[in-house]
Symmetry: none
Subunit: 123 residues, 4 copies
Amino acid sequence: MAKDFQSSKPIYIQIADHLSSQIVRGEMRAGEKLPSVREMAIQSGVNPNTIQRTYSEMERMGIVETRRGQGTFVTENEQVLKDLKSRLQTDIIHSFVQNMKDLGYSQEEMITGLEQYLRREQE
Amino acid sequence: MAKDFQSSKPIYIQIADHLSSQIVRGEMRAGEKLPSVREMAIQSGVNPNTIQRTYSEMERMGIVETRRGQGTFVTENEQVLKDLKSRLQTDIIHSFVQNMKDLGYSQEEMITGLEQYLRREQE
Amino acid sequence: MAKDFQSSKPIYIQIADHLSSQIVRGEMRAGEKLPSVREMAIQSGVNPNTIQRTYSEMERMGIVETRRGQGTFVTENEQVLKDLKSRLQTDIIHSFVQNMKDLGYSQEEMITGLEQYLRREQE
Amino acid sequence: MAKDFQSSKPIYIQIADHLSSQIVRGEMRAGEKLPSVREMAIQSGVNPNTIQRTYSEMERMGIVETRRGQGTFVTENEQVLKDLKSRLQTDIIHSFVQNMKDLGYSQEEMITGLEQYLRREQE
DNA sequence: GTGGTCTAGACCACA
DNA sequence: GTGGTCTAGACCACG
Protein backbone atom coordinates (compact mmCIF):
# COMPACT_ATOMS: atom_id res chain seq x y z
CA MET A 1 0.00 0.00 0.00
CA ALA A 2 1.48 3.31 -1.09
CA LYS A 3 -0.49 6.45 -0.32
CA ASP A 4 1.93 9.28 -0.97
CA PHE A 5 0.02 11.58 -3.25
CA GLN A 6 0.47 15.33 -3.40
CA SER A 7 -2.82 17.03 -2.89
CA SER A 8 -2.51 19.44 -5.80
CA LYS A 9 -2.95 17.05 -8.73
CA PRO A 10 -5.78 14.53 -9.04
CA ILE A 11 -4.72 11.08 -7.90
CA TYR A 12 -5.78 9.44 -11.14
CA ILE A 13 -3.45 11.78 -13.03
CA GLN A 14 -0.56 11.20 -10.69
CA ILE A 15 -0.88 7.46 -11.17
CA ALA A 16 -1.16 7.89 -14.93
CA ASP A 17 1.98 10.02 -14.93
CA HIS A 18 3.80 7.45 -12.87
CA LEU A 19 2.83 4.62 -15.19
CA SER A 20 3.70 6.68 -18.24
CA SER A 21 7.16 7.28 -16.79
CA GLN A 22 7.65 3.58 -16.29
CA ILE A 23 6.59 2.85 -19.84
CA VAL A 24 8.73 5.60 -21.31
CA ARG A 25 11.71 4.47 -19.27
CA GLY A 26 11.25 0.98 -20.69
CA GLU A 27 10.38 -0.64 -17.38
CA MET A 28 7.19 -1.76 -19.00
CA ARG A 29 7.49 -3.02 -22.55
CA ALA A 30 5.11 -2.65 -25.49
CA GLY A 31 2.35 -5.24 -25.29
CA GLU A 32 2.92 -5.93 -21.61
CA LYS A 33 -0.12 -6.38 -19.40
CA LEU A 34 -0.79 -3.83 -16.69
CA PRO A 35 -2.12 -4.96 -13.34
CA SER A 36 -5.89 -5.38 -13.35
CA VAL A 37 -7.95 -2.45 -12.17
CA ARG A 38 -8.71 -4.14 -8.88
CA GLU A 39 -5.16 -5.27 -8.27
CA MET A 40 -3.71 -1.88 -9.09
CA ALA A 41 -6.27 -0.30 -6.77
CA ILE A 42 -5.02 -2.43 -3.89
CA GLN A 43 -1.37 -1.77 -4.75
CA SER A 44 -1.97 1.96 -4.83
CA GLY A 45 -4.30 2.04 -1.87
CA VAL A 46 -7.08 3.78 -3.77
CA ASN A 47 -10.55 2.97 -4.98
CA PRO A 48 -10.88 0.84 -8.14
CA ASN A 49 -12.89 3.62 -9.77
CA THR A 50 -9.88 5.88 -9.54
CA ILE A 51 -7.69 3.36 -11.36
CA GLN A 52 -10.42 2.87 -13.91
CA ARG A 53 -10.19 6.54 -14.63
CA THR A 54 -6.41 6.37 -14.85
CA TYR A 55 -6.61 3.59 -17.41
CA SER A 56 -9.33 5.35 -19.41
CA GLU A 57 -7.24 8.48 -19.58
CA MET A 58 -4.20 6.54 -20.72
CA GLU A 59 -6.25 4.75 -23.34
CA ARG A 60 -7.56 8.06 -24.60
CA MET A 61 -3.95 9.12 -25.05
CA GLY A 62 -3.16 5.94 -26.94
CA ILE A 63 -0.58 4.76 -24.43
CA VAL A 64 -2.58 1.75 -23.46
CA GLU A 65 -5.14 -0.58 -25.05
CA THR A 66 -7.86 -2.49 -23.28
CA ARG A 67 -9.04 -5.83 -24.52
CA ARG A 68 -12.41 -6.81 -23.19
CA GLY A 69 -12.34 -9.46 -20.54
CA GLN A 70 -8.58 -9.74 -20.87
CA GLY A 71 -7.12 -6.65 -19.34
CA THR A 72 -5.18 -3.49 -20.12
CA PHE A 73 -1.97 -3.58 -22.13
CA VAL A 74 0.80 -1.20 -23.11
CA THR A 75 0.19 -0.25 -26.73
CA GLU A 76 2.20 -2.22 -29.24
CA ASN A 77 2.48 0.86 -31.41
CA GLU A 78 6.08 1.74 -30.69
CA GLN A 79 5.75 4.97 -32.60
CA VAL A 80 3.20 6.23 -30.10
CA LEU A 81 5.60 5.47 -27.28
CA LYS A 82 8.43 7.28 -29.00
CA ASP A 83 6.25 10.28 -29.66
CA LEU A 84 5.07 10.22 -26.08
CA LYS A 85 8.59 10.30 -24.75
CA SER A 86 9.69 13.15 -26.95
CA ARG A 87 6.50 15.07 -26.26
CA LEU A 88 6.91 14.68 -22.53
CA GLN A 89 10.53 15.78 -22.74
CA THR A 90 9.75 18.81 -24.85
CA ASP A 91 6.91 19.83 -22.54
CA ILE A 92 9.18 19.70 -19.52
CA ILE A 93 11.94 21.71 -21.14
CA HIS A 94 9.50 24.15 -22.62
CA SER A 95 7.86 24.96 -19.32
CA PHE A 96 11.28 25.20 -17.64
CA VAL A 97 12.48 27.72 -20.18
CA GLN A 98 9.22 29.63 -20.02
CA ASN A 99 9.29 29.87 -16.24
CA MET A 100 12.93 30.91 -16.12
CA LYS A 101 12.29 33.52 -18.78
CA ASP A 102 9.40 34.91 -16.76
CA LEU A 103 11.80 35.35 -13.86
CA GLY A 104 14.10 37.34 -16.08
CA TYR A 105 16.85 34.83 -16.63
CA SER A 106 18.86 34.75 -19.85
CA GLN A 107 19.59 31.54 -21.72
CA GLU A 108 23.11 31.41 -20.33
CA GLU A 109 21.84 31.85 -16.79
CA MET A 110 19.42 28.98 -17.29
CA ILE A 111 22.20 26.60 -18.22
CA THR A 112 24.63 27.71 -15.51
CA GLY A 113 21.81 27.69 -12.97
CA LEU A 114 20.98 24.11 -13.89
CA GLU A 115 24.63 23.05 -13.83
CA GLN A 116 25.14 24.55 -10.39
CA TYR A 117 22.03 22.82 -9.09
CA LEU A 118 23.17 19.45 -10.40
CA ARG A 119 26.68 19.90 -9.00
CA ARG A 120 25.26 20.74 -5.60
CA GLU A 121 22.96 17.72 -5.76
CA GLN A 122 25.81 15.31 -6.43
CA GLU A 123 27.59 16.07 -3.19
CA MET B 1 -10.00 42.87 -20.69
CA ALA B 2 -7.55 39.99 -20.95
CA LYS B 3 -9.13 36.55 -20.59
CA ASP B 4 -6.47 34.15 -21.72
CA PHE B 5 -6.02 31.85 -18.78
CA GLN B 6 -4.93 28.29 -19.17
CA SER B 7 -7.51 26.01 -17.65
CA SER B 8 -5.12 23.92 -15.59
CA LYS B 9 -4.16 26.37 -12.85
CA PRO B 10 -6.54 28.42 -10.71
CA ILE B 11 -6.86 31.92 -12.06
CA TYR B 12 -5.92 33.55 -8.78
CA ILE B 13 -2.64 31.63 -8.80
CA GLN B 14 -1.92 32.53 -12.40
CA ILE B 15 -2.33 36.19 -11.58
CA ALA B 16 -0.19 35.86 -8.46
CA ASP B 17 2.53 34.17 -10.51
CA HIS B 18 2.37 36.89 -13.07
CA LEU B 19 2.69 39.65 -10.47
CA SER B 20 5.50 37.81 -8.70
CA SER B 21 7.41 37.60 -11.98
CA GLN B 22 7.03 41.32 -12.52
CA ILE B 23 8.29 42.04 -9.03
CA VAL B 24 11.18 39.65 -9.30
CA ARG B 25 12.15 41.04 -12.68
CA GLY B 26 12.19 44.50 -11.15
CA GLU B 27 9.30 45.83 -13.20
CA MET B 28 7.62 46.59 -9.92
CA ARG B 29 9.86 48.01 -7.22
CA ALA B 30 9.83 47.53 -3.46
CA GLY B 31 7.21 49.75 -1.85
CA GLU B 32 5.38 50.35 -5.09
CA LYS B 33 1.58 50.37 -4.96
CA LEU B 34 -0.32 47.64 -6.74
CA PRO B 35 -3.57 48.46 -8.57
CA SER B 36 -6.61 48.35 -6.29
CA VAL B 37 -8.54 45.12 -6.18
CA ARG B 38 -11.34 46.66 -8.14
CA GLU B 39 -9.08 48.16 -10.79
CA MET B 40 -7.05 44.98 -11.14
CA ALA B 41 -10.26 43.01 -11.52
CA ILE B 42 -11.35 45.18 -14.41
CA GLN B 43 -7.91 45.06 -16.02
CA SER B 44 -7.88 41.27 -15.83
CA GLY B 45 -11.52 40.77 -16.70
CA VAL B 46 -12.04 38.77 -13.57
CA ASN B 47 -14.21 38.75 -10.49
CA PRO B 48 -12.91 41.05 -7.70
CA ASN B 49 -13.13 38.09 -5.30
CA THR B 50 -10.49 36.39 -7.38
CA ILE B 51 -8.09 39.32 -7.11
CA GLN B 52 -8.79 39.55 -3.42
CA ARG B 53 -7.64 35.99 -3.15
CA THR B 54 -4.54 36.69 -5.23
CA TYR B 55 -3.54 39.54 -2.93
CA SER B 56 -4.24 37.47 0.20
CA GLU B 57 -2.08 34.68 -1.13
CA MET B 58 0.75 37.06 -1.93
CA GLU B 59 0.46 38.65 1.47
CA ARG B 60 0.64 35.24 3.07
CA MET B 61 3.93 34.74 1.23
CA GLY B 62 5.19 38.12 2.45
CA ILE B 63 5.52 39.54 -1.04
CA VAL B 64 3.02 42.31 -0.56
CA GLU B 65 1.61 44.25 2.38
CA THR B 66 -1.81 45.76 2.65
CA ARG B 67 -2.19 49.03 4.54
CA ARG B 68 -5.72 49.71 5.63
CA GLY B 69 -7.36 52.39 3.60
CA GLN B 70 -4.30 52.88 1.43
CA GLY B 71 -4.01 49.80 -0.71
CA THR B 72 -1.63 46.94 -1.41
CA PHE B 73 2.12 47.51 -1.75
CA VAL B 74 5.15 45.48 -2.74
CA THR B 75 7.02 44.69 0.47
CA GLU B 76 9.91 46.98 1.27
CA ASN B 77 11.81 44.12 2.79
CA GLU B 78 14.38 43.61 0.05
CA GLN B 79 15.61 40.42 1.65
CA VAL B 80 12.20 38.82 1.12
CA LEU B 81 12.32 39.72 -2.55
CA LYS B 82 15.79 38.29 -2.95
CA ASP B 83 14.76 35.10 -1.19
CA LEU B 84 11.64 34.93 -3.32
CA LYS B 85 13.65 35.08 -6.52
CA SER B 86 16.07 32.40 -5.44
CA ARG B 87 13.28 30.21 -4.09
CA LEU B 88 11.30 30.49 -7.31
CA GLN B 89 14.41 29.68 -9.32
CA THR B 90 15.24 26.66 -7.17
CA ASP B 91 11.67 25.38 -7.38
CA ILE B 92 11.69 25.59 -11.15
CA ILE B 93 15.04 23.84 -11.50
CA HIS B 94 14.12 21.25 -8.93
CA SER B 95 10.91 20.24 -10.65
CA PHE B 96 12.67 20.24 -14.02
CA VAL B 97 15.34 17.87 -12.74
CA GLN B 98 12.76 15.69 -11.02
CA ASN B 99 10.61 15.39 -14.12
CA MET B 100 13.53 14.63 -16.39
CA LYS B 101 14.79 12.02 -13.94
CA ASP B 102 11.35 10.37 -13.94
CA LEU B 103 11.63 10.07 -17.71
CA GLY B 104 14.95 8.30 -17.30
CA TYR B 105 17.30 11.04 -18.39
CA SER B 106 20.78 11.36 -16.94
CA GLN B 107 22.23 14.67 -15.77
CA GLU B 108 24.25 15.01 -18.96
CA GLU B 109 21.16 14.40 -21.09
CA MET B 110 19.29 17.08 -19.18
CA ILE B 111 21.89 19.67 -20.03
CA THR B 112 22.36 18.69 -23.65
CA GLY B 113 18.57 18.44 -24.04
CA LEU B 114 18.19 21.95 -22.72
CA GLU B 115 20.98 23.30 -24.89
CA GLN B 116 19.50 21.74 -27.99
CA TYR B 117 16.11 23.20 -27.19
CA LEU B 118 17.53 26.67 -26.72
CA ARG B 119 19.56 26.42 -29.92
CA ARG B 120 16.48 25.36 -31.84
CA GLU B 121 14.48 28.22 -30.31
CA GLN B 122 16.98 30.85 -31.40
CA GLU B 123 16.55 30.13 -35.09
CA MET C 1 -38.02 13.18 -14.79
CA ALA C 2 -37.34 11.30 -18.04
CA LYS C 3 -35.92 7.83 -17.77
CA ASP C 4 -36.27 6.33 -21.22
CA PHE C 5 -32.80 5.01 -21.97
CA GLN C 6 -32.06 2.05 -24.18
CA SER C 7 -29.95 -0.45 -22.33
CA SER C 8 -27.39 -0.95 -25.08
CA LYS C 9 -25.54 2.37 -24.94
CA PRO C 10 -24.15 3.95 -21.78
CA ILE C 11 -26.50 6.56 -20.39
CA TYR C 12 -23.85 9.25 -20.31
CA ILE C 13 -23.33 8.77 -24.06
CA GLN C 14 -27.03 8.83 -24.81
CA ILE C 15 -27.37 12.12 -22.98
CA ALA C 16 -24.32 13.50 -24.75
CA ASP C 17 -25.77 12.47 -28.10
CA HIS C 18 -29.06 14.07 -27.24
CA LEU C 19 -27.43 17.34 -26.23
CA SER C 20 -25.22 17.27 -29.32
CA SER C 21 -28.31 16.91 -31.49
CA GLN C 22 -29.91 19.88 -29.82
CA ILE C 23 -26.81 21.98 -30.34
CA VAL C 24 -26.38 20.89 -33.93
CA ARG C 25 -30.03 21.58 -34.65
CA GLY C 26 -29.56 25.07 -33.29
CA GLU C 27 -31.87 24.61 -30.31
CA MET C 28 -28.92 25.57 -28.16
CA ARG C 29 -26.82 28.44 -29.44
CA ALA C 30 -23.07 28.99 -29.25
CA GLY C 31 -22.11 30.39 -25.85
CA GLU C 32 -25.35 29.35 -24.22
CA LYS C 33 -25.18 27.92 -20.72
CA LEU C 34 -26.14 24.33 -20.19
CA PRO C 35 -28.07 23.32 -17.08
CA SER C 36 -25.77 22.76 -14.10
CA VAL C 37 -24.66 19.23 -13.43
CA ARG C 38 -27.01 18.88 -10.51
CA GLU C 39 -29.96 20.39 -12.31
CA MET C 40 -29.44 18.28 -15.40
CA ALA C 41 -29.16 15.23 -13.19
CA ILE C 42 -32.58 15.91 -11.74
CA GLN C 43 -34.08 16.66 -15.16
CA SER C 44 -32.73 13.41 -16.56
CA GLY C 45 -33.43 11.35 -13.48
CA VAL C 46 -29.86 10.14 -13.16
CA ASN C 47 -26.98 10.57 -10.76
CA PRO C 48 -24.96 13.80 -10.98
CA ASN C 49 -21.82 11.76 -11.59
CA THR C 50 -23.33 10.48 -14.80
CA ILE C 51 -23.98 14.00 -16.05
CA GLN C 52 -20.50 14.99 -14.98
CA ARG C 53 -19.21 12.31 -17.28
CA THR C 54 -21.45 13.48 -20.09
CA TYR C 55 -20.12 17.02 -19.80
CA SER C 56 -16.51 15.83 -19.57
CA GLU C 57 -16.93 13.80 -22.71
CA MET C 58 -18.46 16.72 -24.55
CA GLU C 59 -15.70 19.01 -23.41
CA ARG C 60 -13.12 16.52 -24.64
CA MET C 61 -14.81 16.70 -28.03
CA GLY C 62 -14.68 20.48 -27.96
CA ILE C 63 -18.45 20.89 -28.12
CA VAL C 64 -18.64 22.49 -24.72
CA GLU C 65 -16.44 24.59 -22.45
CA THR C 66 -16.50 24.70 -18.70
CA ARG C 67 -15.66 27.84 -16.79
CA ARG C 68 -14.75 27.23 -13.21
CA GLY C 69 -17.41 28.19 -10.76
CA GLN C 70 -19.61 29.46 -13.55
CA GLY C 71 -20.91 26.47 -15.41
CA THR C 72 -20.76 24.63 -18.71
CA PHE C 73 -21.32 26.46 -21.97
CA VAL C 74 -21.75 25.58 -25.64
CA THR C 75 -18.46 26.41 -27.34
CA GLU C 76 -18.36 29.75 -29.08
CA ASN C 77 -16.16 28.29 -31.77
CA GLU C 78 -18.74 28.06 -34.51
CA GLN C 79 -16.33 26.17 -36.74
CA VAL C 80 -16.25 23.28 -34.28
CA LEU C 81 -20.04 23.13 -34.35
CA LYS C 82 -20.10 23.15 -38.15
CA ASP C 83 -17.50 20.40 -38.29
CA LEU C 84 -19.41 18.43 -35.70
CA LYS C 85 -22.60 18.56 -37.72
CA SER C 86 -20.94 17.50 -40.93
CA ARG C 87 -18.99 14.78 -39.18
CA LEU C 88 -22.10 13.40 -37.54
CA GLN C 89 -23.95 13.44 -40.85
CA THR C 90 -21.14 11.73 -42.72
CA ASP C 91 -20.82 9.09 -40.04
CA ILE C 92 -24.50 8.26 -40.23
CA ILE C 93 -24.54 8.03 -44.01
CA HIS C 94 -21.29 6.10 -44.07
CA SER C 95 -22.50 3.42 -41.70
CA PHE C 96 -25.82 3.23 -43.55
CA VAL C 97 -24.06 2.63 -46.85
CA GLN C 98 -21.65 0.17 -45.28
CA ASN C 99 -24.43 -1.86 -43.67
CA MET C 100 -26.53 -1.92 -46.82
CA LYS C 101 -23.52 -2.96 -48.86
CA ASP C 102 -22.86 -5.80 -46.43
CA LEU C 103 -26.40 -7.00 -47.06
CA GLY C 104 -25.67 -7.05 -50.78
CA TYR C 105 -27.63 -4.01 -51.87
CA SER C 106 -26.54 -1.89 -54.81
CA GLN C 107 -26.43 1.90 -54.66
CA GLU C 108 -29.70 2.16 -56.59
CA GLU C 109 -31.39 -0.24 -54.20
CA MET C 110 -30.23 1.83 -51.25
CA ILE C 111 -31.90 4.93 -52.62
CA THR C 112 -35.12 3.27 -53.69
CA GLY C 113 -35.25 1.38 -50.39
CA LEU C 114 -34.93 4.63 -48.49
CA GLU C 115 -37.54 6.37 -50.64
CA GLN C 116 -40.02 3.55 -50.14
CA TYR C 117 -39.45 3.62 -46.40
CA LEU C 118 -40.06 7.36 -46.23
CA ARG C 119 -43.18 7.13 -48.39
CA ARG C 120 -44.59 4.44 -46.13
CA GLU C 121 -43.79 6.50 -43.06
CA GLN C 122 -45.68 9.53 -44.29
CA GLU C 123 -48.99 7.75 -44.46
CA MET D 1 -5.72 -15.15 -37.74
CA ALA D 2 -7.80 -12.02 -38.24
CA LYS D 3 -7.99 -9.72 -35.26
CA ASP D 4 -9.47 -6.52 -36.58
CA PHE D 5 -12.49 -5.93 -34.41
CA GLN D 6 -13.81 -2.48 -33.68
CA SER D 7 -13.87 -1.94 -29.98
CA SER D 8 -17.43 -0.62 -29.77
CA LYS D 9 -19.44 -3.80 -30.43
CA PRO D 10 -18.99 -7.13 -28.66
CA ILE D 11 -16.91 -9.49 -30.73
CA TYR D 12 -19.49 -12.23 -30.69
CA ILE D 13 -22.02 -9.81 -32.20
CA GLN D 14 -19.58 -8.62 -34.83
CA ILE D 15 -19.01 -12.19 -35.93
CA ALA D 16 -22.73 -12.94 -35.90
CA ASP D 17 -23.36 -9.86 -38.04
CA HIS D 18 -20.67 -10.93 -40.44
CA LEU D 19 -22.09 -14.42 -40.79
CA SER D 20 -25.61 -13.08 -41.18
CA SER D 21 -24.44 -10.85 -44.00
CA GLN D 22 -22.87 -13.79 -45.77
CA ILE D 23 -26.04 -15.81 -45.45
CA VAL D 24 -28.28 -12.98 -46.56
CA ARG D 25 -26.04 -12.25 -49.54
CA GLY D 26 -26.30 -15.89 -50.54
CA GLU D 27 -22.65 -16.69 -49.98
CA MET D 28 -23.83 -19.33 -47.57
CA ARG D 29 -26.86 -21.29 -48.69
CA ALA D 30 -29.74 -22.75 -46.70
CA GLY D 31 -28.74 -26.04 -45.11
CA GLU D 32 -25.03 -25.38 -45.51
CA LYS D 33 -22.74 -26.35 -42.65
CA LEU D 34 -20.92 -23.67 -40.73
CA PRO D 35 -17.34 -24.23 -39.57
CA SER D 36 -17.14 -26.01 -36.22
CA VAL D 37 -16.84 -23.83 -33.15
CA ARG D 38 -13.23 -24.81 -32.72
CA GLU D 39 -12.31 -24.21 -36.35
CA MET D 40 -14.13 -20.91 -36.48
CA ALA D 41 -12.35 -19.85 -33.31
CA ILE D 42 -8.98 -20.48 -34.90
CA GLN D 43 -9.97 -18.77 -38.15
CA SER D 44 -11.09 -15.70 -36.23
CA GLY D 45 -8.30 -15.74 -33.70
CA VAL D 46 -10.80 -15.73 -30.90
CA ASN D 47 -11.72 -17.75 -27.85
CA PRO D 48 -14.03 -20.72 -28.63
CA ASN D 49 -16.40 -19.47 -25.92
CA THR D 50 -16.95 -16.37 -28.01
CA ILE D 51 -17.90 -18.38 -31.10
CA GLN D 52 -20.15 -20.54 -28.99
CA ARG D 53 -21.97 -17.43 -27.97
CA THR D 54 -22.19 -16.26 -31.58
CA TYR D 55 -23.81 -19.52 -32.64
CA SER D 56 -26.19 -19.48 -29.66
CA GLU D 57 -27.28 -15.98 -30.53
CA MET D 58 -27.85 -16.92 -34.15
CA GLU D 59 -29.79 -19.99 -33.15
CA ARG D 60 -31.96 -17.87 -30.88
CA MET D 61 -32.77 -15.75 -33.94
CA GLY D 62 -33.60 -18.89 -35.93
CA ILE D 63 -30.88 -18.29 -38.50
CA VAL D 64 -28.95 -21.46 -37.77
CA GLU D 65 -29.74 -24.84 -36.31
CA THR D 66 -27.40 -27.06 -34.37
CA ARG D 67 -27.71 -30.81 -34.77
CA ARG D 68 -26.14 -32.76 -31.98
CA GLY D 69 -22.94 -34.39 -33.01
CA GLN D 70 -23.13 -32.99 -36.52
CA GLY D 71 -22.52 -29.29 -36.23
CA THR D 72 -24.23 -26.01 -36.95
CA PHE D 73 -26.17 -25.42 -40.16
CA VAL D 74 -27.87 -22.52 -41.88
CA THR D 75 -31.60 -22.97 -41.39
CA GLU D 76 -33.41 -24.57 -44.30
CA ASN D 77 -36.46 -22.47 -43.59
CA GLU D 78 -36.15 -20.10 -46.54
CA GLN D 79 -38.93 -17.92 -45.17
CA VAL D 80 -36.83 -17.15 -42.11
CA LEU D 81 -33.95 -16.07 -44.32
CA LYS D 82 -36.19 -13.82 -46.40
CA ASP D 83 -37.66 -12.26 -43.26
CA LEU D 84 -34.18 -11.85 -41.87
CA LYS D 85 -33.03 -9.92 -44.89
CA SER D 86 -36.01 -7.61 -44.90
CA ARG D 87 -35.83 -7.12 -41.16
CA LEU D 88 -32.15 -6.24 -41.31
CA GLN D 89 -32.79 -3.84 -44.13
CA THR D 90 -35.67 -2.15 -42.34
CA ASP D 91 -33.61 -1.83 -39.17
CA ILE D 92 -30.77 -0.16 -41.04
CA ILE D 93 -33.03 2.27 -42.84
CA HIS D 94 -35.01 2.98 -39.70
CA SER D 95 -32.00 3.91 -37.65
CA PHE D 96 -30.60 5.97 -40.52
CA VAL D 97 -33.81 7.97 -40.75
CA GLN D 98 -34.02 8.33 -37.00
CA ASN D 99 -30.45 9.59 -36.70
CA MET D 100 -30.79 12.03 -39.55
CA LYS D 101 -34.04 13.34 -38.10
CA ASP D 102 -32.30 13.90 -34.76
CA LEU D 103 -29.78 16.06 -36.59
CA GLY D 104 -32.61 18.13 -37.99
CA TYR D 105 -32.59 16.93 -41.58
CA SER D 106 -35.77 16.78 -43.64
CA GLN D 107 -36.70 13.77 -45.75
CA GLU D 108 -35.53 15.51 -48.91
CA GLU D 109 -32.19 16.33 -47.32
CA MET D 110 -31.73 12.70 -46.32
CA ILE D 111 -32.10 11.54 -49.90
CA THR D 112 -29.96 14.25 -51.45
CA GLY D 113 -27.35 13.77 -48.73
CA LEU D 114 -27.21 10.07 -49.49
CA GLU D 115 -27.02 10.67 -53.23
CA GLN D 116 -24.18 13.14 -52.81
CA TYR D 117 -22.29 10.72 -50.62
CA LEU D 118 -22.66 7.92 -53.15
CA ARG D 119 -21.63 10.15 -56.02
CA ARG D 120 -18.52 11.24 -54.13
CA GLU D 121 -17.72 7.64 -53.32
CA GLN D 122 -17.81 6.57 -56.94
CA GLU D 123 -15.02 8.90 -58.01
C1' DG E 1 -23.61 28.56 -6.63
C1' DT E 2 -20.38 25.92 -10.02
C1' DG E 3 -17.62 21.80 -11.68
C1' DG E 4 -14.11 18.13 -10.14
C1' DT E 5 -12.55 14.29 -7.47
C1' DC E 6 -12.94 10.36 -4.58
C1' DT E 7 -14.92 6.40 -2.02
C1' DA E 8 -17.94 2.53 -1.30
C1' DG E 9 -20.43 -0.77 -3.16
C1' DA E 10 -23.13 -2.75 -6.71
C1' DC E 11 -24.30 -4.89 -11.25
C1' DC E 12 -23.31 -6.04 -16.01
C1' DA E 13 -21.23 -7.76 -20.36
C1' DC E 14 -17.40 -10.01 -22.13
C1' DA E 15 -13.76 -13.73 -22.86
C1' DG F 1 -11.34 -13.39 -14.25
C1' DT F 2 -11.50 -8.76 -16.94
C1' DG F 3 -13.00 -3.79 -17.79
C1' DG F 4 -17.27 -0.59 -17.88
C1' DT F 5 -21.16 1.72 -15.94
C1' DC F 6 -24.01 3.54 -12.39
C1' DT F 7 -25.61 5.14 -7.81
C1' DA F 8 -25.17 7.32 -3.35
C1' DG F 9 -23.07 10.40 -0.80
C1' DA F 10 -19.22 13.12 0.49
C1' DC F 11 -15.63 16.80 0.26
C1' DC F 12 -13.03 20.32 -2.13
C1' DA F 13 -11.49 24.39 -4.89
C1' DC F 14 -13.13 28.04 -7.46
C1' DG F 15 -15.64 32.44 -8.54
